[in-house]
Amino acid sequence: MRCTEDRGTVKVINGRYRPTGKFHYIYEHSPIFDENGKLMGITNPRDVTHIHAYGGEAQFFESLGKGKLLGTRCDNPHCEAEGSIFMPFRIHCPDCLAKNTVVDLTETARKSATVHTFMITERTGAFNTLPTPIKFVNVEFEGVCTILMGYLSVGEPEIGMRVVPIFKTQNPTFTILDLSWVPAGTKEADLPEGFTFG
């Protein structure tokens, strides 16, 4: 059963959350008996919707749906890490804690992204929305000091493989799932539904 009827949505108006619709659905408990009919416990069913702030990372998740991959750079001249580029996007430099500068890494990714390591798994946890098997890839970029986790949508991963980013520019989810990777040279026609090269 999917409880989608009047599922809650939220807007921010004047700096406050304005929720509309249902944020929880109520179900009855049911008893748990053993094979002899002895009461052992009870189920506690629940269906809730949480609200979550993206804060300073909102521009990263918004940019994915527009076909852009944003990272950040420490530009603090007094920091040991000055000039370091971070992907995943770090709002603040982890060394000096100054606010980082946002940089567009889309072209860097297109030209230099390679698979640092990977994993293929059939198993998922509850609430997974990715098709299985999931092909996890951890992607490294030229000039970027950190490594980004993602998933490969076409082909079989290998360490050292050149990959390029693809973006869910049609009906974006505004989550990290809007970013995926395919082997360099993949044709647009072979991309999953809703994804483009940006």
């Binding site: 748990i32 053993d34 052992m40 416990g41 506690n44 979550h52 993206y54 990372e57 998740f61 040991e80 890490a81 370091s84 971070f86 995943p88 982890p94 060394d95 640092h116 390591t117 990977f118 994993m119 293929i120 798994t121 059939e122 198993r123 998922t124 946890g125 509850a126 609430f127 997974n128 929305t129 990715l130 999931i134 996890f136 951890n138 000091c145 950190t146 490594i147 986790m149 993602g150 998933y151 360490i159 989550t175 990290i176 799932l177």
Partner: protein, 474 residues
């Protein structure tokens, strides 16, 4: 390269020594529907009291503050479960606090308890850990565990923590294991060993008499990891009592010195700048100069092949306790064998073997109770409890269980706590006809490593018989 200041690398000091007086644990199993968590906790506490000839009420009279390790509130659907347990143990109005550091929760609970006694705040503390992982189906459990990854950047990717770890396994497998069949066999031997030792442990959830072929033919979870390479999901509780010297000797005539240190690393693997390898007392920078030549791709540190948090826990802990070379100075270890390959990685992080050479700890036979090549005692037996692969991983209890198992060897009371037919019967388990006493003869010093996920938190608990203290030379 990240560099660390002298202040950050200061060796932790204590105002006074800390002693482990006793410990106990419940039965461990995948599900225990007949008992509430408070019953399991009381089982563990009662075992700890009886171990030193006290009643639970008598032992409670000594406790001044309590530390509760319970990782996942959402598994039990009970926020502040620590307060419930504190109430059921009848320890109010004493101060208490909950500790949560993922898979390392048990070790971190000992860390907090240790610091409390070392500081002088309390003379006797309770460190109690538990986990209740049977109250949701396994796939929801996997989602909940995956919630311990970064919720925006990682959790949506499959909601499966094994996957986030498995990319590290893949890198280690290819770089240091060189994708060799022989390395794959070495991984399998760990699964055979630990599940086999679990057969001698009445508390253990997953004892199995299996072969390397059984491991290699078990279903692939995330290549090269197969089902029998992966640890258990468990229910159960474990506790320890830590005291200052005076109180320790009031409670028992045989307390053990204990040292606990902790390290951490970024939640998202390889999401910090690189660094030089922090060196343990038995290592030199020189030995790692050609690491990248010997193992192409192995020179990015810490990267995906090692656990910096484990390295730092050992870095601080060895120097606190005076350990110069773990293989020489320690008599047994309990390691966080969540996966066979992470067990091998940890051998390197904690200096049992240099980086790149972890597999030789298994292949030499050093990690066995009895070396299969020589028939003589293993040089540094590992995970005689059965570990996370064969005994349990009831997260908040795991690090405490490991420490108690190590201590029981040093006390020379391992057989007493594992052989009793009444305990086997009480747990509803069949004692094997070929039950073997795994007591490490003459054990003086041991180590327990408690580890979270992809290495966000790791603790090193070093337990030393007071007659066999090491000289601190650092």
């Amino acid at each position: 390269m990240i560099t660390f200041s002298e202040k950050q690398l200061k060796i932790p000091s204590m105002s006074r020594p800390v002693f482990l007086v006793t410990g106990g644990m419940s039965k461990f199993d995948r599900a225990i529907p007949e008992k509430k968590t408070e019953e399991l906790v009381i089982d563990a506490f009662t075992e700890a009291a009886r171990f030193i000839g006290k009643t639970p009420a008598e032992l409670k009279q000594y406790i001044h503050s309590a530390y509760y390790g319970h990782f996942a509130d959402h598994f039990g659907d009970q926020l502040l479960g620590e307060a419930v347990i504190h109430d059921r143990l009848g320890l109010d109005p004493l101060g208490n606090v909950g500790i949560k550091t993922g898979g390392a929760t048990g070790g971190s609970t000992l860390w907090e308890a240790f610091k409390t006694v070392a500081s002088g705040y309390s003379d006797c503390v309770l460190a109690m850990g538990w986990e209740r992982m049977d109250e949701v189906p396994t796939d929801e459990g996997n989602h909940y565990i995956a919630s311990a990854a970064d919720k925006d950047w990682e959790t949506p990717l499959g909601h499966i923590y094994t996957g986030y770890y498995a990319v590290m396994a893949q890198k280690y497998w290819q770089v240091f294991g060189k994708s060799e069949d022989s390395f794959r066999v070495t991984m399998a031997e760990i699964a055979v060993k630990n599940r086999g030792y679990a057969r001698m442990n009445p508390h253990a959830q997953g004892p199995k008499k299996i072969t390397v072929d059984d491991v290699l033919s078990s279903p692939v979870v995330a290549y090269p990891l197969r089902a029998l390479d992966c640890c258990l999901m468990s229910v159960g509780a474990a506790c320890a009592i830590l005291c200052d010297e005076k109180t320790a000797y009031e409670l028992t005539d045989n307390p053990l010195l204990v040292y606990v240190a902790a390290g951490s690393h970024t939640l998202r693997v390889a999401d910090r700048r690189n660094m030089a390898i922090p060196l343990l007392p038995n290592e030199t920078a020189e030995q790692y100069k050609d690491l990248g030549e010997r193992f192409p791709g192995g020179d990015r540190y810490p990267g995906f092949t090692g656990f910096l948090a484990a390295r730092m826990a050992a870095y601080y802990g060895y120097r606190m306790a005076g350990v110069t070379d773990p293989t020489e100075d320690l008599d047994l270890v309990e390691l966080h064998d969540a996966f066979t390959i992470s067990d091998i990685q940890t051998y390197e992080d904690i200096g049992i073997r240099p980086y790149g050479e972890g597999r030789t700890y298994v292949e030499s036979g050093d990690c066995y109770h009895t070396n299969p090549h020589t028939g003589k005692p293993g040089k540094l037996p590992a995970n005689l409890s059965g570990g996370l692969l064969g005994n349990m991983h009831a997260v908040g209890a795991t690090g405490i269980m490991q420490a108690i198992e190590v201590a029981q060897h040093i006390w020379g009371r391992w057989a007493e706590m594992h052989a009793d037919p009444k305990k086997w019967e009480a747990f509803g388990r069949q004692k094997p006809e070929d039950w073997t006493d795994l007591q490490v003869k003459g054990a003086r010093r041991g180590l327990a490593i408690s580890h979270a996920g992809v290495g966000s938190h790791v603790t090193a608990t070093i337990i030393v018989h007071p007659d066999h203290q090491l000289e601190r030379r650092f």
